[in-house]
Each structure stands twice: as C-alpha cells, then as structure tokens.
C-alpha cells in the first residue's frame, strides 16, 4: 500500500514537472534541443517508474508507531528551531539548547542532557572557531 501511495504521488510529481517544463521561458535563439526536452524526458521516465511502483509494489515497510512519529517530529522541530536560534541566540546558546534537547530525546536524563549540551556547544565552538578558524559568532549579532 505504501508503495502504491508513493507511486501515485510520484506520478503526480512527474506530471507537474512535465507541465512545468512547458511554462519555462525560452530564449530568442534556442539550441536544437532547448531547455524543455531534458526535464520532460526525466518526467516521462520518472512517471513510468512511479507507475511501475503502483503496479508491482513491494511488501509493506515497517512504519514507526505513533509515539515514534511524535519523537521524529520533535527532532525535526528541534532542528528547525536551531536554524532560527542561530540567528537569535548566537552559536553557543543555540547549540547548547539544540544538542541538549536532542540528547534528552535519546536518553531522558535532564541533568546529563544539559551537561552534554553545554559540553558539545563549548567544545565545538572552540574547535571550529579557534582550530579551524570558522567565522562563528558566539553571541547574537544585534
């Protein structure tokens, strides 16, 4: 079933990609092949492969249980938060928070997670900033 759903989605994507190719801007002096043909070729092959997935699906993969999905969503949330926090809080605080949170998600021990977060963030900052010379800013830039 999963393969059929994914296959359908892929066929849809290929169709969109094919139609999208028709709307691309064309230069005044195009080359013989032009800029639309190759994307269309990809769309056709991809669409056929998607169709093959619908017609001959594999066995069902082991999808995560609902609780695990929650954990994965929390991880994704942590990462997106980290991207924005890099700007708001600076490298050290953002990294400490994000890696602490990740550590807590793997092993729910709040004290250890906090220590790991702080340790990783300070350690990585020193390595990256002073050993590798990356332009990281420890504190937020206002």
């Amino acid at each position: 079933m999963s393969d059929r759903i994914a296959g359908t989605a892929l066929v849809g994507l290929a169709l969109a990609f094919f139609i999208g190719a028709g709307q691309l801007d064309v230069p005044f002096f195009p080359d013989p092949l032009g800029s639309k043909a190759f994307p269309r070729l990809i769309a056709v092959v991809g669409g056929l492969a998607g169709l093959a997935m619908i017609l001959r699906p594999d066995g069902e993969p082991s999808w995560p249980r609902l609780a695990d999905v929650g954990r994965l969503a929390a991880l994704a949330g942590t990462l997106v938060f980290y991207v924005y926090a890099l700007g708001w809080l600076g490298f050290v605080a953002a990294t400490a928070l994000a890696s602490g949170a990740m550590s807590y998600q793997i092993k729910p021990d709040i004290k250890k997670a906090a220590l790991i977060g702080i340790g990783l963030s300070v350690g990585l900052f020193v390595v990256f900033k002073y050993l590798l010379g990356l332009g990281l800013s420890a504190l937020p830039r206002w």
């Binding site: 769309a43 492969a49 998607g50 924005y84 990740m102 250890k112």
Partner: protein, 501 residues
C-alpha cells in the same frame, strides 16, 4: 618509465609535511568514523567536506585528506560489524555474516586482525590497479565526445538501478528525483531560470553538498531516532588481540579472489563497494567445498568481503578520476568535493594536473600502510569508540553537519533545505528507495543535460548522432544489459537484507 617518474612526482607531493600529516589525520578520522555504528564512508566524508574548505587546503591536500578518510572508513567499518553486528554502512554488511558469529565464539580479536589484513590486501592491490589502469583509461577517455558522455552517464544510472539495487523501479525513481532536483536553478545554456518558483534562493540551484549531508547524515540521525534502542547493543567485548597467522595464510587465495572481483565491481560505474563485497562473499561461498561453516564464523567469510569491499573502494576511484563518473556513494561525494574545488575529473586531469592524481595515488599507498598499523596493533583503541553513548554521538554528528553547511554558505535557507533533505532521506529509506542514485542524479544531472544538448547542437538535432561511434554504441548496449540483466539473474543475485539482531 612513465610510471616511475609519475610515482616519483607523486611521492614528492605526498611526502611534503602538510600532505603527509593530512593523510595520517584522514586515516585516523576515517577509522573512527567507520567504527562508529551507523556512520560510514559516505556520510562521514559528506559531513567533513564542508569543513575541509575552512582549512584553506589546496586541491591535492583536500583530496588526499578526504580520500584517506574514505579508505579509513572502509577499514573501520568492519569494527562495528564484527563487534556489534551493526554495519556502519552498506559495504560492511557482508562482514557481519561471519564476523559477528566468529566474535561470539570468543575470537573477536582474530576476526578483527584477519579482516584488517584482508582490507589491507584489497585496498593496496586496488591502489596499484588504479595506478596502472587510470592512465590507460584516461587515454581512452580522450575519444569521448558529448554523445559518449551522455551514454556513459546513462550507463552509470542503469548499473546503479540494475545491478546495484533490489528494485529497478525504485532506483529509477531515485535517479529521476535527483535529475529533477539538478534541473532547479539557472539553465547554464540559456541563462534562464527553471523550476525556481521565483525564489531567489533557488537561482543558484540546490547545492549538492546540502543534499548530500541531508540525505546521508541527517537522515541517518532520523533513522536512529526511530529505532532508538540500539544504545543497549553491547555486542561482543574484545579481549586479547593476537595475530592468527594460520588463518591469514589459509585465506591468502580467498583474499586475492575477493580483491580481484571487488576491484572489477568497483570499476563498473554505479556499482560500487556494496556489490564488490557481496560478489566476493558469494563467489567464495559458491566455490567452497564445504559450505556449511559459512554464516557461523568461517574465516573465509570474513576475508572475502573485506578484501572485496576495500578493493572496490579503490576500483571506484578509477572511473571517478578518469571519466568523472563515480562508481559508488562515497566516490559521488568525492566528486562533489572535486567539483567544488573547481577540478574537472576526466582525461585532462591526468595530463594537466598530474600532481593531483599522482599525489593522491602516492598518498593512498602511504595511507594503506598507516591504516594497517592503526587497524591491527591499535585496533583495541578504536574498538573503545563503540562505547561512546548515542546521546552524545548523535547531537555531535548533527551539530557538525550544521556547522559544516553553515560555514559553507552562511545561509539559513540552506540549513532548512538540509533538514528537508534529511526528512526526504528518511522517507525514501523507509520506502526502500535508495539515496545514492538521488545524489548521483543531482551531481551528474547538469552534465548529462549539457552533453545531450551539445550532441544535438553538433548534429543539428539528429538523434542518430547519439549512436554514431562504436564507443557510444558499446556504452548503450552495456547500459541496457546492466539494467535488464538483473531481471534474469534475480534468482542467483539477490542482495541480502540488513542483519537483524
């Protein structure tokens, strides 16, 4: 002798203090990365590439460092396979079949030493093979025009989809996803944007390093997060390490056979190290007189795949350096490194930048000796790495990935894109759609389109031009066979499932 003077040039580059230190550092780092469960050559190298730019290394040095990491990870991969029964990466999977059972019998040390020696034999002979075959193939590659290159890219995708995968349709889906992603951005032939949705962020296209780190490293953390309980996998403890001279002598032909077949598998564009270790193991098992001991800790079952996958790793460098077509996931990542360093792999690399190629080859010869030392007498030290708890390891890996990409582009958009690729990689993995073809598609999509369009310009739109030379026709035939053959060989050639504990 051309070869000797080239080697002399190579060693003069490789023995400069910086390059030498980088080769050793790469070996150590690579072995650590390989030993860590869940981290293998491709995601290890992917994470480190962005960082290698911050060293301001020149092209040769960056390539030496990363290739040493690659070789090191191929060696190190066996450590977690044998001690934990968790392969770091797909190529190391076959080693779990006999390595773990032997370790459970209390001979973990023997298994590690034997596989270390097998790795050495495979990798060293493959490097020699690269040395001999590379220049030859580079000479042939001079005859390659756009039509031949188009056919060659097709061959790589067909091989990857046919021989290298479990399900052709899914591999084809993966290739098309990658090619489609490569289409995003400004069209290099006309200067007009395609599929950018008007977003300025996408005008430059999607950086393949962002995709690589996302699909390999970030996705790996997601997969780990789901399975979660792995941190209790203690596996086997390593007691004393002695050198099992008798076993090494007993498996000498096994190692050579594994090396030969692995090297050939590596040479095929798109096939790579997983196929190399798989074929080496299968060949050894099918030609053995008594098959019953395989899977229960047979020493031949350890020596064959380890020699095979390390030889394939070296073999995969040949098409990558001479033709610009990578043979495996990790060489795809190395190709990304070369492209970012503004080096175009191909025949001209051998004639115009001999110091890069031969410096690399000489460094690899040195690296192999260093790796043998690291992986046989010092294997105890590296087996300690397995004790790093995931609650430190995973946040660490994730943060290093982020800092790498951030230092490369300084763009928050790229970081978000990387997370997106991570989630995509997780879903693809669940569906059994391989990630390597996606990467290869993103890397080669632009080149593939350009060679097709050039061919059409040269022939003024005549399609038969694509089949006008013997080389091109040969490549097309090989591509079609590579894709179709597995349908008929399925009965004999099924890739094994990952081990379950």
């Amino acid at each position: 002798m051309d070869l000797l003077s080239n080697l002399a040039l190579g060693f003069s580059v490789a023995l400069t203090p910086t390059t030498f230190m980088l080769a050793i550092a790469g070996c150590i780092l690579g072995t650590i990365i390989g030993a860590l469960p869940g981290l293998g050559p491709s995601n290890g190298v992917a994470i480190l590439i962005p960082l290698s730019f911050s060293f301001n290394l020149d092209a040769t040095q960056a390539l030496v460092l990363m290739t040493a990491v690659y070789y090191g990870a191929m060696y190190g991969g066996r450590i977690s396979s044998i001690l934990l029964n968790i392969p770091g990466d797909e190529p190391a999977m076959m080693t779990t079949l006999d390595g773990y059972p032997l370790a459970k019998k209390g001979r973990a040390g023997d298994a590690l030493v034997l596989s270390g020696v097998a790795s050495f034999v495979g990798a060293l002979l493959a490097t020699v093979g690269l040395m001999l075959l590379g220049p030859l193939l580079a000479r042939v590659a001079f005859f390659f025009g756009p039509a031949e290159y188009f056919a060659l890219y097709l061959l790589a995708f067909c091989m990857l989809g046919g021989l290298g995968s479990r399900n052709q349709a899914k591999a084809a889906v993966a290739v098309c996803l990658g090619l489609g992603i490569a289409m995003v951005g400004v069209d290099s032939s006309t200067g007009l944007p395609r599929y950018t949705g008007g977003s300025l962020h996408l005008y430059d296209g999607i950086d393949f390093l962002v995709a690589i780190v996302g699909l390999f490293a970030v996705a790996e953390v997601f997969v780990f997060m789901e399975t979660h309980g792995r941190d209790s996998a203690i596996g086997v403890t390593l007691k004393k390490v002695t050198i099992p001279v008798r076993d090494i002598f007993y498996t000498r032909w096994t190692m050579l056979r594994g090396t030969g077949i692995g090297f050939i598998a590596g040479l095929l564009p798109g096939a790579g190290a997983s196929l190399g270790s798989f074929l080496a193991y299968s060949l050894e098992k099918s030609t053995a007189k008594d098959k019953t001991t395989f899977g229960q800790g047979d020493v031949r079952g350890i020596a064959a795949p380890e020699a095979g996958n390390n030889a394939a790793a070296g073999g995969a460098l040949v098409p990558m350096l001479t033709l610009g077509v990578p043979g495996s996931g990790t060489t795809a990542v190395l190709l990304a490194l070369l492209m970012t360093l503004n080096i175009t792999p191909g025949p001209l690399l051998f004639s115009e930048r001999p110091e890069v190629v031969w410096g690399l080859i000489a460094s690899l010869l040195i690296a192999n000796v260093v790796l043998l030392i690291l992986n046989v007498p010092l294997v105890r030290v590296f087996s300690r790495i397995l004790q790093v708890p995931p609650s430190i390891l995973l946040p660490g890996v994730m943060m290093v990935s982020f800092v790498g990409i951030y230092s490369l582009s300084g763009s928050h958009f790229d970081l978000l894109l990387m997370i997106g690729f991570g989630i995509l990689g997780y879903v693809l993995r669940k569906l059994g759609i391989p990630a390597v073809p996606v990467i290869l598609g993103i890397l080669l999509g632009g080149h593939m389109e350009v060679s097709l369009r050039r061919a059409m310009v040269l022939s003024d739109g005549d399609w038969t031009y694509l089949f006008s030379t013997p080389i091109a026709v040969g490549l097309w035939i090989a591509a079609i066979i590579g894709f179709i053959a597995p349908f008929f060989l399925r009965a004999y050639l099924t890739l094994p499932k990952p081990p379950k504990d």
